[in-house]
C-alpha cells in the first residue's frame, strides 16, 4: 500500500499542537550538553558551531522553505554583528539587549533590501543579493570611524548574562548562552515552518504562479519570510560578535554567504535539522582539515560538495532518513517472524 506515491508531497500540519512536540529541541539540547562534556577544551569551536547553526537556520528558512535563492545572507549576519557591537560600545553592555537589537538590525536590512530585490527572480535575484552584501561590505570598509574598517569593531565589553554569569576566558557562559539561543531559535523557527505561514512559503517555492492565482500575496509573503530570516541571521551575527568580542568585515564577505549555503546543502535544505547537521559537519571538517593547510580544506569541501550534489541531493539528513527507514524495515521484518 505504500507503493502508491502521491503526485505532490505537501507536509500535513501535525494534528497535535506543534509546541507540545519538543523532540527535536530535546535532542539538540542533549547533543549540546554531550558535546560540552566530551570536548571541554574545544568550547570556542562549539560556541561557533551553535552561532553558525542559527545563521544556517535563517538561510534554511529563506532558501530551503521559501526558495529565495540568495548568496548574500552575510549582509544580514554582519549587520546583526555590527549592531550588537555598537550597542555594547555606545548604549548598554547588557547581552540580551544587544542580541535583540542585533536581530532587529538584521531584520531591518532584510526588509529594506528585500523590498527592492524580491520582485525579481532567479539569477537576477541572486545577483542582487550578492550586490547588496558587497555594497554593505564596501560601505563598512569605507566607514572606518564607525566600523573599524579592516581591523574590525572590537574593544567592547559584554556585561554578565542576566547580571549573574560573566563572559570569561573559559567560555562556559558563552557556550551555554549560544546553545540556549540556538534551541530557542530552533523552536521558534520550527513552529513558524509548521504553521500556515510556513506552508504558504513552501507553496510559493513550488509554484508561485498558483499561489498568486489562489489569492496569495507572493511578494509580501516572501518579504515577510526574508525579514524573519534577517532577524534570525541578525541574532546569529549578534551572538557571534558577543561571544567572540569582535565584529569584522569577514562577516559581510561573499565567502561567508557562500559558506553558509554550502552548510545547509551538505545537511539538507528542506529540513531545519539539516541546517544544524550540515553546520556541525562543515565546521568539524574545517577544524580538522585547516590544521593541515587552508587549501587542502578547500579541496575537501569542494569535492564533498560535488559528491553530495550528485549522490545525496537531499543532504546528510536524507542519509539519516534512509538509515532510519531501513532500520524500521528490518525491525518490521524481525517482528513478523
Amino acid at each position: 500500500m505504500s507503493a502508491v506515491i502521491p503526485p505532490m508531497v505537501m507536509a500535513v500540519p501535525p494534528r497535535a499542537r506543534p509546541w507540545t512536540q519538543l523532540r527535536a529541541e530535546i535532542v539538540l539540547t542533549l547533543a549540546g550538553l554531550l558535546a560540552f562534556a566530551l570536548f571541554p577544551q574545544d568550547l570556542g569551536l562549539l560556541t561557533n558551531m551553535a552561532t553558525m547553526s542559527i545563521f544556517a537556520l535563517s538561510l534554511s528558512l529563506v532558501l530551503g522553505q521559501a526558495g529565495i535563492a540568495t548568496l548574500g545572507q552575510a549582509a544580514l549576519y554582519g549587520a546583526g554583528a555590527y549592531v550588537a557591537g555598537w550597542t555594547a560600545l555606545y548604549l548598554t553592555a547588557d547581552p540580551i539587549v544587544g542580541l535583540l537589537l542585533g536581530g532587529l538590525g538584521g531584520g531591518l536590512i532584510a526588509l529594506l533590501s528585500g523590498a527592492v530585490m524580491l520582485r525579481s527572480t532567479k539569477l537576477t535575484l541572486v545577483m542582487l543579493t550578492i550586490a547588496v552584501a558587497q555594497l554593505l561590505l564596501e560601505l563598512a570598509n569605507w566607514a572606518r570611524w564607525l566600523t573599524g574598517g579592516d581591523d574590525g569593531l572590537a574593544g567592547f565589553e559584554v556585561a554578565p548574562l542576566f547580571g549573574i554569569w560573566e563572559f570569561n576566558f573559559m567560555g562556559h557562559t558563552g557556550y551555554f548562552y549560544a546553545l540556549g539561543a540556538l534551541v530557542l531559535v530552533f523552536f521558534l523557527v520550527r513552529n513558524l515552518v509548521d504553521s500556515p505561514f510556513g506552508l504558504t512559503a513552501r507553496a510559493i517555492r513550488q509554484d508561485p504562479g498558483r499561489v498568486q492565482a489562489l489569492g496569495g500575496r507572493v511578494y509580501l509573503h516572501l518579504l515577510a519570510v526574508y525579514t524573519v530570516g534577517g532577524v534570525v541571521a541578525g541574532l546569529a551575527g549578534a551572538l557571534t560578535a558577543q561571544t567572540s568580542k569582535v565584529a569584522n568585515l569577514f562577516m559581510l564577505d561573499f565567502t561567508t554567504s557562500a559558506g553558509v549555503v554550502v552548510m545547509i546543502v551538505l545537511g539538507g535544505t528542506r529540513r531545519l535539522s539539516g541546517a544544524v547537521l550540515g553546520t556541525v559537519a562543515y565546521m568539524t571538517i574545517h577544524h580538522i582539515a585547516s590544521t593541515l593547510n587552508p587549501y587542502h580544506w578547500l579541496f575537501v569541501i569542494g569535492s564533498m560538495l560535488i559528491f553530495v550534489l550528485i549522490v545525496l541531493p537531499e543532504g546528510l539528513i536524507g542519509l539519516l532518513d534512509r538509515a532510519a527507514a531501513y532500520a524500521r524495515r528490518l525491525g518490521r521484518k524481525g517482528g513478523a517472524r
Binding site: 550586490a131 558587497q134 569542494g302 550528485i310
Partner: protein, 289 residues
C-alpha cells in the same frame, strides 16, 4: 576634470573593460545557452594565467606558443568538465548548478595552489608587448593597447561567428528555443560542449591578457567571481553586445571612481549594478525570459 585625468580614466577604464569582457563573454553565452550558472568560470581564467606563466618556462617553448598551449589546455579541461560533470546538472535547479560549480572552483583553487604555490605569479609577456607607445599628446603602455585590440578583435570575430557562420546560426537557434532546435535536427549536446569550451578558452585569453591588472593568485577565481557575475547580469544572458557594453559601463565607472574616490570605487560598481538590475531585471540587452 582635467584632460590628463580624463584620458587616464579612459585608457585604464577601457583596458579593464576589455579584460572583463573577454573573461565574461563565455560565461554569458553558456548562461544564455544552457541556462547554467557557472560560478567556476573565473577558474578558467585563473588556470589560463597560471599555465601561461609556467608552460614557457617548463617546456622551453616560446612565450607566444606557450600562451596558445595554455588556452588550448584550458579548453580541453573545460570540455572534460562539461561532459563528465556539468551535463548532469542541466535539468537541476539553479541552486544545485551554482553549488556544483562553486565546488569545482574550490577544487581548482586547491589544485592551483598545489601546482603553482600560493604566492602571486606574474605572467611573463613577450618582449614586443613591453614599452610604451607615444600618441603625441601622451604615451600609453603598449600592453594596454594590445589588450584593447585583443578585446575588440574578440568582439568582431565573435560577432561574425555568431551572426554569419552556420555554427552561429545553430547556437542562436539553441539559445532561442532548445527543444525546437533539437526537433529540427540540431545536435544541441555538441553545441553546448563546443560553446562551453570556446567560452573557457576566451576566459583563459582574458586571464592571460589581464594578468597585469588582475594578478594571478590561487584565490583569483573567488576574488573576482562577483565582479564577473555582475558584468554578465548587467549585460543580460547570452548577448554578445550586452556583455561588451556592460563591461564598458562597469569598467569605466569603477576606474573613474578609483581615480577620484578610491575608497568608494567598489561601492559605486555595485550600486551601478543594482540600479541597472532594478530598472532592467533582464540586463541591458536581455530579453524577457
Amino acid at each position: 576634470m582635467s584632460f590628463a585625468l580624463l584620458s587616464s580614466v579612459l585608457v585604464d577604464g577601457v583596458t579593464y573593460a576589455m579584460i572583463l569582457f573577454m573573461i565574461t563573454v563565455g560565461l554569458s553565452m553558456t548562461m544564455g545557452l544552457m541556462r547554467v550558472v557557472n560560478l567556476a568560470h573565473g577558474a578558467f581564467a585563473m588556470l589560463g594565467g597560471f599555465l601561461a606563466a609556467s608552460i614557457p618556462q617548463r617546456l622551453g617553448v616560446p612565450i607566444g606558443l606557450g600562451f596558445v598551449l595554455a588556452i588550448a589546455l584550458v579548453a580541453l579541461l573545460a570540455l572534460i568538465f562539461e561532459r563528465t560533470l556539468l551535463r548532469r546538472f542541466y535539468r537541476r535547479d539553479d541552486l544545485d548548478q551554482m553549488l556544483v560549480t562553486i565546488g569545482l572552483m574550490f577544487v581548482a583553487t586547491a589544485a592551483v595552489n598545489l601546482m603553482f604555490g600560493s604566492s602571486v605569479t606574474s605572467v611573463a609577456l613577450p618582449e614586443a608587448f613591453g614599452g610604451s607607445v607615444d600618441l603625441g599628446f601622451r604615451s600609453i603602455p603598449r600592453h594596454r593597447l594590445i589588450v584593447v585590440a585583443c578585446g575588440l578583435l574578440v568582439v568582431v570575430v565573435l560577432w561574425f561567428a555568431v551572426d554569419r557562420s552556420s555554427f552561429g546560426i545553430r547556437v542562436r537557434a539553441a539559445v532561442d528555443n532548445a527543444p525546437i532546435a533539437r526537433a529540427i535536427g540540431i545536435d544541441t549536446t555538441k553545441i553546448y560542449a563546443a560553446t562551453f569550451a570556446i567560452g573557457a578558452a576566451l576566459a583563459a585569453l582574458g586571464g592571460i591578457a589581464g594578468a597585469e591588472l588582475l594578478p594571478m593568485e590561487p584565490t583569483y577565481a573567488s576574488k573576482y567571481l562577483v565582479i564577473l557575475l555582475a558584468v554578465v547580469a548587467v549585460g543580460g544572458n547570452g548577448n554578445l553586445f550586452g556583455s561588451f557594453f556592460a563591461a564598458l559601463l562597469l569598467g569605466i565607472v569603477e576606474t573613474s571612481m578609483k581615480y577620484m574616490v578610491p575608497q568608494l570605487a567598489s561601492a559605486a560598481f555595485f550600486l551601478t549594478m543594482i540600479v541597472v538590475l532594478l530598472l532592467r531585471p533582464q540586463g541591458l540587452f536581455g530579453r524577457q525570459a
